[in-house]
Symmetry: C2
Subunit: 350 residues, 2 copies
């Protein structure tokens, strides 16, 4: 029995290996042709190539992106965040299905740098998206394996390009409302949606400060059964609160709505809001301006990350930083004297 | 007449030059002795030394700071922000005078990197602080000359050390609520005070998004005459709004109060709030923890700034960035390909 099991496992391992080898043999041009003809397996292969850390794959992925870029850009990119338990997967299932019924093609990506390297702590559980995951016009990709936020962000941005080249016109990017990844998602999307539970106060503890001010819309989820009253109250409160916030530079006032995925109520409101946002920000040129700023932002971020990487990889630098930090904590030197010592060490090692 | 004027101007110029020469001859030890004996002119000279960009002065200022550091830290550092016209100078005049009557010694500094190099666009007009500026127990320093935010922040942080060494136990750091400088001030103070005008909505346009969430307290100014009703309404609204915000990690709930500098009402409430804040955050160790984090923050910021400086000073790098950015804007390359090209150029020039 144990032997049979082992034989079975070996067979599966061989299958996976041959499948991988097969994929590895596809040229960037072949993958691109598949993507261009809206082949979802080709899109999946392209993203796998982008996620690979092998140097030959990195070169190939750059070739692929070069071909895909002219076809990219024609989608609305929507960031979706909220604490675990708020109902993100359920919302995406309903919202995605609604959009497909409106004639759209929907791609769902996820950013979660905190997830283990096995990959996919969010969106991994496709069983919660039963209907969307089997829909011909939907493409769902679990979150990439863990790594630096910069690395994960890069892969996600490049995945967006491939999804757009494959003809997906709504890209949903999911993240968990607890960390730095919200800023990353906010900086690569056109519209930022925050899902919240009614019963303000305690439930908010999980959301990091600053995220509320990034939201273009707040949707209060689970507005069904005995929650309805509380959700409507919460809606009024958030509307008031957001009204007190400083205005966005695009003069968009964040909209607050209640929804129920369970009772399939309010999902269409989310899309109405996003369409209104497009109507308001596209003619003024603000929409495209923001995308250009985002491109510059990621270029600069990436340059900074590379410089810091080089710095952090310097032999002995961490020991030096620890040694200097101790003097700093004891109040024997100022922050700037500490920085001088560290930079001097770095320059002596270059 | 014109001749007399010129002669008069020359005389003044000579006086200033001789005064400067005199200052330059004071050793760090002599300046420190003056500061230690709470001599305000010594403190002013010390800050002038810190602000100097001459290399010999930089060495001297480091010597001075080394001596001053063991005497520093025993103050409450309060950041004060709000758009122009909200009444910051008037508030500082009243608040500072109130604190001095409570037995405190009050130093007032300012950060405004946007000000012209003549120096002191805020706090420059000491006539608005007539009573405080002549008070024996007050020290007012206009904002340092313009420069990079990092440079200005460094000078301000070092000035705080000297003020504390001179025995000032309340340090007020003023800034304008419109730029990046709020984040800098927030990151070097224990308590962050946001001044706002009543009549929410339009007036808020000047405040940058994100600043409200940094505030430990919001004071609604000019609560006098026909403004009283509106101010009280605004107070209730802000209280509600802040209640909806995610909690601070120190569990401090930002307090909202109304004040009138004109009628000298409510100034004491500001100090009550700050004392309550100290009572809540000092025993838990959070107060000191935050100061240590701030020290590390500024060390890291300064290291990053130095690395970026070196990068930006590379011959031809700006032309390269412009050339690459054009390809990026046209959609011919991705942000990360752009970054690669720039980093490759940089590495080839090192």
């Amino acid at each position: 029995m144990a032997k049979e099991n082992r034989a079975h496992k070996n067979k599966i391992a061989q299958l996976i290996a041959s499948k991988r080898a097969h994929k590895a043999h596809l040229s960037p041009q072949e993958i691109f042709d598949k993507i261009k003809s809206a082949d979802k397996s080709g899109l999946a292969e392209g993203i796998t190539l982008i996620e690979s850390i092998k140097s030959e794959d990195i070169l190939k992925s750059q070739e692929l992106l070069k071909m895909a870029l002219p076809l990219a850009g024609n989608s609305i990119r929507i960031g979706i965040t909220g604490v675990p338990g708020v109902g993100k997967s359920t919302f995406i299932e309903s919202f995605g299905t609604y959009l497909i019924n409106q004639g759209k093609k929907v791609a769902v990506l996820a950013i979660d740098p905190s997830s283990e390297k096995s990959g996919g702590s969010i969106l991994g559980d496709k069983t919660r998206m039963t209907s969307l995951s089997v829909n011909e016009k939907a493409f769902i990709r679990p979150s990439a394996s863990a790594g630096s936020l910069g690395g994960v962000a890069r892969k996600t941005r490049e995945s967006i390009i491939l999804c757009e080249a494959a003809g997906f016109d709504v890209i949903l990017i999911e993240t968990v409302g607890v960390g730095q990844s919200e800023i990353a998602v906010h900086s690569m999307t056109d519209f930022f949606l925050l899902l919240m539970l009614a019963g303000a106060g305690d439930e908010l503890q999980g959301i990091k400060r600053g995220i509320m001010e990034m939201a273009d819309s707040i949707l209060i989820t689970k507005t069904d059964g005995k929650n309805v009253k509380m959700a409507n109250l919460a809606r009024a409160e958030y509307k008031n609160a957001l009204h007190l916030f400083p205005a966005n530079e695009n003069n968009w006032i964040p909209k607050v709505e209640t929804i129920s995925a369970l009772e399939e109520k309010g999902i269409e409101k989310a899309w109405d809001i996003i369409q209104e946002f497009e109507r308001q920000t596209k003619p003024s040129g603000w929409f495209d301006k923001k995308r250009n700023e985002q491109k510059r932002y990621w270029m600069n971020q990436s340059v900074q990350e590379r410089l810091m990487q080089e710095f952090n990889n310097t032999v002995g630098i961490q020991d030096k930083i620890n040694e200097i930090s101790e003097l700093l904590d004891k109040g024997e030197i100022t922050s700037f004297q500490a920085s001088e010592s560290i930079i001097n060490y770095y320059n002596s090692k270059k």
